[in-house]
Symmetry: C2
Subunit: 354 residues, 2 copies
């Protein structure tokens, strides 16, 4: 685990410098149907490594994070003469970096790869931790490996092409990092207006946020225990996400996480005395930016059922959460009863004006 994390808004120079240091036998760039139009042309004109690379394109969208796409990447690499000393540069959101990293980790039993996340969610969530993979058999990230990139180049220069929704979606993971790290990080995030953010300020927030994840992952690279801190907000969040899917009105992952964080802070208050003033402050921030997932008490049985079947809870009879005693004071493997969760959802509806 010796992945370089490079924070810069001069991405082309960073790519060329890593490329020179590694000196691969040949170079490939993986893009999707978005980044091939919006990001690749700019980088090609600025980076000698990208300009000389062979391009592999996959279709954009999580539905294409599939075995078929993976096989097409392996095939293209092979057909274009990639060897064990080749390099793959993954240029895109989390879907491209997750799948490209898996392809590179397995092609000829592993070639060097560099991730260049082009979305905020990709930068903050997918850039550290070495989680690679594809969806399979109807399940997200069902197959993959843990393997970190040679380098991850994190910049905010591509975020100009992102919608406000996409920015907010990534920002929710940063809020989570703030909650599990320290009041200082948390407060600087809550003091920032995502709608009107300067790229350099965003880069400094990102650096802080990614470092939080880096520290957690380093303490537990293969997710045996402490890394569960990063699950904060995600048990309830995944349930919201799945419920929205069932209703045929999907919500962005980050929005579901933001709402899930509200629910799990409420549970933290009930079970671990997390301060109620912070719960109210956080809920107000989430409501102002993300509004609320609309639920009624008729949805509780479905939500409880989804939480129970979350893969993080594979063996638990009761439902497993990562909760907080205070900001930065994480309690993994907390459990809550159905009654406690229902009560937390009542309070969520109240705080979110439902």
């Amino acid at each position: 685990m010796s992945q370089q994390l490079i924070f810069t808004n001069d991405v082309a120079s960073a790519i060329d410098s890593i490329h020179s240091a590694v000196n691969p036998a040949s170079t490939f760039v993986l893009v999707d149907s978005n980044t091939i139009s919006f990001v690749l042309p700019r980088l090609k004109s600025q980076s000698a490594a990208v300009a000389s690379a062979s391009i592999i394109e996959v279709q954009a969208g999580d539905v294409h994070k599939s075995l078929d796409s993976l096989a097409s990447i392996w095939k293209r690499l092979g057909d274009m003469g990639a060897t064990r000393r080749s390099m793959l540069i993954n240029l895109g959101g989390g879907m491209v970096t997750d799948m490209g990293a898996f392809a590179a980790s397995t092609f000829k039993r592993g070639i060097t790869f560099v991730n260049v996340p082009t979305t905020l969610l990709g930068a903050v969530d997918a850039s550290v931790g070495g989680k690679t993979g594809i969806n399979f058999n109807g399940l997200k990230n069902e197959v993959g490996v843990f393997r970190e990139a040679e380098a991850v180049i994190i910049s905010t220069t591509f975020f100009g092409t992102l919608s406000h929704t996409e920015l907010l979606s990534g920002y929710a993971e940063m809020l989570k990092h703030g909650l599990i790290s320290s009041p200082a990080v948390f407060n600087s995030l809550l003091a920032t207006d995502v709608a009107d953010i300067d790229p350099d300020h965003m880069l400094s927030l990102l650096r802080e946020s990614v470092q939080v994840k880096r520290d957690v992952v380093d303490s537990d690279p293969t997710e045996q225990g402490p890394r569960k801190a990063l699950n904060l907000g995600h048990t309830a969040g995944h349930a919201f996400e799945s419920l929205a899917m069932k209703r045929n009105s999907p919500v962005p992952h980050g929005y579901a996480v933001a709402w899930g964080l509200v629910v799990e802070l409420i549970l933290s208050g009930m079970i671990l005395k997390f301060p109620s003033s912070l719960i109210s402050q956080f809920a107000a921030y989430v409501y102002a930016n993300y509004r609320a997932m609309p639920i009624t008490c008729d949805d509780y049985p479905a939500l409880l059922d989804l939480m129970r079947h979350d893969k993080k809870n594979a063996t638990a009879a009761s439902i497993n959460f990562t909760l907080l005693r205070a900001i930065g004071d994480v309690c993994i493997d907390s459990t809550a009863s159905d009654e406690q969760i229902s009560q937390a959802l009542d309070i969520y509806r109240d705080l979110m004006h439902l």
Copy 2:
């Protein structure tokens, strides 16, 4: 890399003991259409872990070491409720252990697996080194990862079902291990009659042979350099194997390796002064047991071409070999010219009575 290597002819007890120590949430056994008939029933009656496991079957044969088979293993694991805390026991030859290990290394980003090789080749060649994978896009082991098993249980009890050809095929890799290790190991191998070997004596030879590979692999787990010692015999061997394939009369891998070892010892004599008396002794042993790959000088251009395109030589203009100065004195990244190789093939034909 903390793989346990267990040498025993009480396989059932070894499986049950590892199974108890790991205490997986659920257990799966991967078999092929051979081992499901010839090995599984016996183990089921002796091992509680195997008796209670769910069985996953793939078709036997290298042609089924494919993406389709891999996907079917992933799907069966998922459909039968495997979790990150499940265990997969791979029961078969190198095809089953390579593919099963790859499936386990990638299912939910990695579950515990145990390899139980049932062939001599699998025991000596596939049990150590963490090479997992499948064939893809017409190439052997084109995708895979390096990952070692929780444990490998090496026994000779299943070899009773192997043909003499299969035994000899595995024995060729042991001969290679003898050549790269020491005169003592080498001489004990040459003094043994493979046709008439006692299971306990074979187990002790295997233990010695696997330890040679273990030492080499530990010094270089991801094949950056020293591990190339294990390529001895394989540049010429793969060329023989591919030529036989082209002629539509395939030869067992180990036979091709045995003949390849003869050629590469001859080259070692020409280039590094490897003793000619040992070359003659070894060639006679190989001829007595494996006979010879029939070649004429008309085959030289095809053989040279195949050697040049071996994946070990991806960037070399001249052809790359692992050669020996003496038994146990390995010289990786040796090169030989087309003329030297042609001359070596002349001598091979002479020594092999062609």
